[in-house]
């Protein structure tokens, strides 16, 4: 899915004062691109993703998904939040199947879809477990499964690994890249981790501290599939350094 933003800006009203969270942003993301949104805390990354998801309106400008102007949640757009936000009363299976259930899929259809999905997520053995029994990494994997179950053509990830430890993050990055290699959705991933951004994305959009303004648009030409030891390559360092320089 192609994503086009035209002069999208967001102003919040906080205690009477106006607060520009996101300066007007124009950007064109071709279908199938993996884009990382990089910026300091409070620069409006979540705001941007929420606007694209149709969860909140832009103060000005417009969002175009595949040449159609979009102002509300879209069935082909999947959103994943920073913490897993699973429903405690649903099993892992039922949590992942939620989008299908809401769309009115039959039980058989859900079962079939999940049978394909659960092994990819490494969660087959946990289908009937409740979220409180999962580790943070597994919970996040379940949340990823839930958004994939929806079969989105645009994947919005708001710091999907933010709450995890370094090892789990690393593993999940690889898992996500492997899944993406097969499915090729457009991905917009928010992060404030420069290495994560360079390691995963085709393209970095770097934002200034508040108000968030696009300060660099960097294409990452590292070969795929990405390998963990690439972070030690000189080329990787060049990208990381460029991103850091743009951020401050």
């Amino acid at each position: 899915m192609r994503v086009r933003l035209e002069g999208v800006s967001v102003t919040y009203r906080q205690a009477g004062a106006k607060l520009l969270a996101l300066a007007p942003l124009t950007v064109d993301i071709p279908s199938g691109q993996f884009v990382a949104i990089l910026g300091a805390s409070g620069c409006g990354k979540s705001t941007l993703v929420r606007v694209v998801a149709g969860l909140q309106p832009a103060t000005s400008g417009s969002v175009w998904l595949d040449e159609v102007r979009n102002t509300r949640p879209h069935p082909a757009v999947g959103m994943m939040f920073q913490d897993a936000t699973l429903m405690g009363w649903r099993t892992v299976f039922d949590n992942i199947a939620l989008p299908l259930e809401l769309a009115g899929a039959s039980h058989a259809a859900r079962e079939a879809r999940l049978r394909a999905l659960l092994p990819m997520l490494g969660l087959e053995a946990w289908a009937n477990a409740y979220p409180a029994m999962l580790s943070g990494g597994m919970a996040q994997r379940a949340a990823l499964g839930r958004v994939l179950a929806q079969n989105p053509r645009l994947l919005l990830l708001d710091e999907p690994f933010g709450a995890l430890d370094a090892f789990t993050r690393e593993q999940l990055r690889l898992d996500l890249l492997a899944l993406w290699r097969d499915m090729r959705q457009t991905v917009l991933m928010v992060t404030h981790d420069i290495h994560e951004a360079v390691f995963m994305a085709d393209r970095l959009l770097v934002f200034s501290p508040r108000p968030g303004r696009l300060v660099a648009d960097i294409a990452i030409d590292l070969p795929r599939p990405r390998q963990l030891d690439m972070v030690y390559d000189a080329e990787f360092g060049v990208y990381a350094r460029a991103a850091r320089a743009a951020m401050v």
């Binding site: 969860l55 949640p73 649903r90 009937n128 409180a132």
Partner: protein, 267 residues
């Protein structure tokens, strides 16, 4: 696909001690009671012996009077709970969702709740007569508050992220209600229902005390006017049993409905 988990319930060694503890308390209370009676500290019309109460209980069980009054009170409790809990849940939901409902209803509800029920129950009896209706209404009035409060708290504590999730998935209002709000408030709501269930007896009995021709409250009042203290004891103990029964029923309901909470507790 069903998968079993290698989780075993550890049966703690003192489970039996804990189970027997209430029984022990009961025995001690009975012993103390018997002792007070045996020492003849008070005349029998003030404190009858356990045995006298027991015999009285056996008698009213046999001749069916206890059942008749118990049934009348239980019936009023069931209706009172149904009405009170339904209205409490509905209003609680509205208050939590609509700011306008909150500012309009909260003062009214707080004032209503702060006024002692016994003070305005006579009014209810003037309005609704001395039959079943006024008992049900007193019960509903007393029962609705805990449910309302817990519904409000339950709805308010639903994480905004889960609401966003439902919105992102284009869930309808109905789907959000059934798949997010109701299950999310269930634990808190059931806690309120437990309080309501124990209060239900109070509501009905207050109604029966003031004016009724049947029910445990009426029965106890009658027994007192005849100085049949043993019968008063029987009536009061029946109310206790009734309250405990209703509480247990809700507890069982909770146990059935909240399986997911139990499964995910560490053992």
């Amino acid at each position: 696909m069903r998968v079993s988990f290698p989780i075993t319930m550890s049966r703690s060694a003192n489970t039996w001690t804990r189970r027997l503890a209430p029984l022990l308390t009961l025995v001690l209370v009975l012993a103390a009671w018997q002792l007070v009676f045996a020492l003849r500290l008070y005349p029998t019309f003030l404190i009858p012996s356990p045995q006298m109460v027991w015999e009285k209980a056996a008698q009213v069980l046999r001749d069916g009077t206890l059942w008749a009054h118990l049934l009348a009170t239980s019936e009023a409790m069931v209706w009172g709970l149904l009405w009170g809990v339904s209205i409490g849940t509905l209003l609680g939901y509205l208050i939590a969702k609509l700011p306008l409902a909150e500012v309009l209803l909260t003062p009214l509800i707080v004032a209503f709740q702060a006024t002692p029920i016994v003070a305005y129950a006579p009014l209810l009896i003037i309005w609704f007569g001395s039959g079943m209706t006024s008992k049900v209404v007193t019960c509903a009035v007393i029962v609705f508050f805990p449910t309302l409060m817990n519904t409000v708290v339950g709805v308010r504590q639903i994480p905004p992220r889960l609401r966003d999730l439902m919105r992102a998935l284009s869930a309808t209002r109905w789907q959000t209600l059934c798949k997010l709000e109701l299950p999310a408030i269930l634990p808190v709501w059931l806690t309120g229902l437990k309080t309501s269930a124990t209060l239900a007896v109070i509501g009905v009995v207050v109604g029966e005390f003031l004016s009724a021709d049947r029910g445990l409250g009426h029965w106890v009042k009658l027994a007192r006017s005849q100085y049949d203290t043993a019968l008063v004891f029987v009536g009061v103990l029946t109310m206790t049993a009734l309250a405990l029964t209703f509480y247990s029923l809700v507890y069982l309901l909770e146990w059935r409905l909240l399986k997911w909470q139990r499964q995910s507790r560490s053992v």
